[in-house]
């Protein structure tokens, strides 16, 4: 009994004492090489407490419940920057503390989900398109999302396990925006997606790349970073942005409104925007960097790879996800029905 008490006392100091010279960074897992934080601390003397999450929704729920407090730097995706910004959960960024903004590629700035980049700055980005094994399927015959509905793909497709990404496909084939809040459009997308169900083999949002490289799946939705890596393993893999347009995703650096150390957070953001650091991040995580100066420093075959860094037309055609407000319940309702096999 006494031993137990002693153990309890010893662990007391472990319980949350926050330091002033410390930044609490809440990021996606596997999204930052360790050495970046080590170099930051070495250069600035500010320690970083790093923890991770694996979904925007989890991040949002936790942050919301904590009233915007608890973390100094977070990395939400586009539609969550939108939502959190509107709900006053984010601190407007102070440009004066962020001289390295100039290195960012203007193509990725000032997007509808955060006009003028009031609350966020891009961290890593990519596209969501169709990937398939060209030995099994003729590349010329797969040019649009609509092609996935063909009966020859029965029980073979991999689709993202994400309501917005899948509905993006359903809406685009009908010519609608993936961010619509129109109930009729959403319903029609649901009806269309129902017809796609017999072709689906797997819903998967974990590394779909594994399913491709193990030969489990020959065709499906994929993210650009994953597709690039899969292609390295299997050169016959083709990734393309369909005619109707790719999905565009982006994860962004943002500061919660209740951050205990906003100055430290700004310094960390500025550090992450430095070209050599941004290049390191892009290389290690194998995703595309929105930092133009960093991209110039990347090796040629990555820089010119159309999967990782597609031409500007692709970006024009693609759509970033924005918040759909209350319509999210409608999307969720139809998603439920789709997943329940209805």
């Amino acid at each position: 009994m006494r031993g137990l008490l002693l153990m309890l006392l010893l662990t007391l100091p472990l319980a949350g004492a926050t330091n002033a010279a410390e930044v609490r960074f809440f990021n996606w897992s596997d999204y930052l090489p360790e050495e970046v934080l080590e170099r930051f601390t070495a250069e600035t003397g500010i320690a970083v407490r790093y923890s991770t999450y694996d979904s925007n929704e989890g991040l949002y729920a936790k942050l919301k419940l904590l009233g915007g407090k608890g973390y100094d730097l977070i990395v939400p995706s586009t539609y969550f920057v939108d939502r959190m910004g509107r709900e006053g959960l984010l601190l407007p960024l102070d440009r004066r503390q962020l001289p390295n903004i100039r290195h960012l590629d203007p193509h990725h700035l000032d997007k509808p989900f955060d006009a003028g980049n009031r609350y966020s700055l891009p961290y890593l980005w990519g596209t969501t398109g169709i990937a398939f094994d060209s030995r099994r399927f003729d590349p010329a015959s797969l040019q649009s999302w609509a092609d996935l509905w063909r009966p020859e793909f029965r029980e073979s497709l991999l689709l993202s396990n994400d309501v917005r990404e899948v509905f993006h496909v359903g809406l685009r084939v009908l010519g609608f925006s993936g961010n619509t809040t129109d109930t009729e459009q959403i319903r029609r997308a649901y009806e269309r997606l129902r017809q796609l169900l017999p072709n689906v083999r797997v819903f998967n949002s974990d590394a779909p790349l594994v399913l491709f490289t193990t030969g489990e799946i020959d065709i499906g939705m994929m993210w650009s970073g994953n597709a690039y890596r899969a292609q390295l393993e299997n050169p016959a893999l083709v990734y393309r942005c369909p005619r109707e347009g790719c999905g565009l995703w982006m994860d962004n650096l943002a500061i919660p409104i209740g951050a205990a150390n906003p100055e430290g957070a700004h310094r960390l953001i500025d550090f992450l925007l430095r070209p050599d650091i941004a290049r390191l991040i892009a290389e290690k995580t194998r995703y595309a960097s929105p930092n133009a100066a960093a991209v110039r420093q990347l090796s040629e075959n990555i820089r010119n790879n159309p999967i990782m860094y597609p031409p500007a037309e692709i970006l024009e055609q693609g759509e970033y996800g924005t918040d759909v407000g209350a319509a999210v319940t409608l999307y969720a309702k139809y998603w439920e029905r789709l997943k329940a096999g209805d």
Binding site: G16, R24, S29, E233
Partner: protein, 252 residues
């Protein structure tokens, strides 16, 4: 002559260990992705050793697991004894609450506990995590111990008391030793549960206390990480060693 019994026992063990063997094999596979064997490599273990955050998270998780298992075993065992031999009129309700804890979906538990902690103004971190873990471990211990106590004859206790023992002594000297397998089973179950928990931990831990299952969960979901295979294999090897060594020590 190998009997059917041995075959069965060994068979089940093989079933249990096969995926672990696969894990271990991949942890030495130089190829980071897919099931294609490239060549033998220690690379992932080296990478693991140079990842202090992961190691810290592992130690954190082990600490929480040991404490959560131990505390919930103590509380649960005493509770089970109290339920079996006590004369509380709240017995049905307590069983009901245990049932609710068992049945509560993790996400509901995680969110509601978080709201509770916020209402009580508790800082999120090690202690809130521990409290959350004890909560979901309790029913496992209690149910296991109760099952064992089920047919326990209360007359044994009466007899002991007739011979002069107090209630406490009777329980400690008679009931406890006989219930020991169930208590140990409960501890083992709780330890396993705690090491594995993701959802509840996500909501009730603080930024200062990163736990392993959360990191593994995200790492594995964001992309296959052979580092994780190496970690899992290592944890397995270490636990196996600890177990075998403690067996030898106990035998002396």
């Amino acid at each position: 002559m190998i009997s059917l019994r041995t075959v069965y026992l060994v068979g089940v063990l093989i079933l249990l260990y096969l995926p672990i063997a696969v894990l271990a094999a991949y942890s030495f596979n130089a190829s980071p992705v897919g099931t294609n064997w490239e060549r033998w490599s220690w690379a992932w273990y080296r990478q693991l050793a140079s990842d202090p955050a992961l190691i810290a998270a592992t130690l954190n998780s082990l600490l929480v697991a040991v404490m959560a298992a131990s505390l919930s075993t103590v509380i649960g065992t005493l509770g089970a004894v109290g339920l079996r031999f006590g004369r509380s009129r709240w017995r049905g309700q307590i069983m009901g609450l245990l049932g609710i804890t068992l049945m509560s979906p993790e996400i509901v538990m995680g969110v509601s506990l978080l709201v509770l902690f916020i209402a009580l103004r508790l800082p999120l971190g090690f202690w809130t995590l521990l409290m959350g873990h004890i909560t979901f471990c309790l029913p496992f211990v209690t149910v296991t111990v109760l099952a064992r106590l089920g047919d326990f004859d209360p007359k044994l206790i009466e007899a002991a008391r007739d011979l002069g023992a107090t209630q406490g002594q009777a329980l400690r000297r008679i009931v406890l030793p006989m219930t020991l397998p169930a208590i140990v089973a409960g501890w083992l179950l709780s330890f396993t549960l705690s090491l594995d928990d993701v959802v509840v931990s996500f909501f009730v831990t603080g930024p200062d206390f990163e736990v392993l299952p959360l990191r593994i969960y995200s790492m594995v979901r964001m992309g296959v990480k052979p580092e994780v295979n190496a970690l899992a294999t290592l944890m397995f090897a270490v636990s196996l060693t600890v177990v075998i060594v403690s067996q030898r020590l106990l035998q002396r």
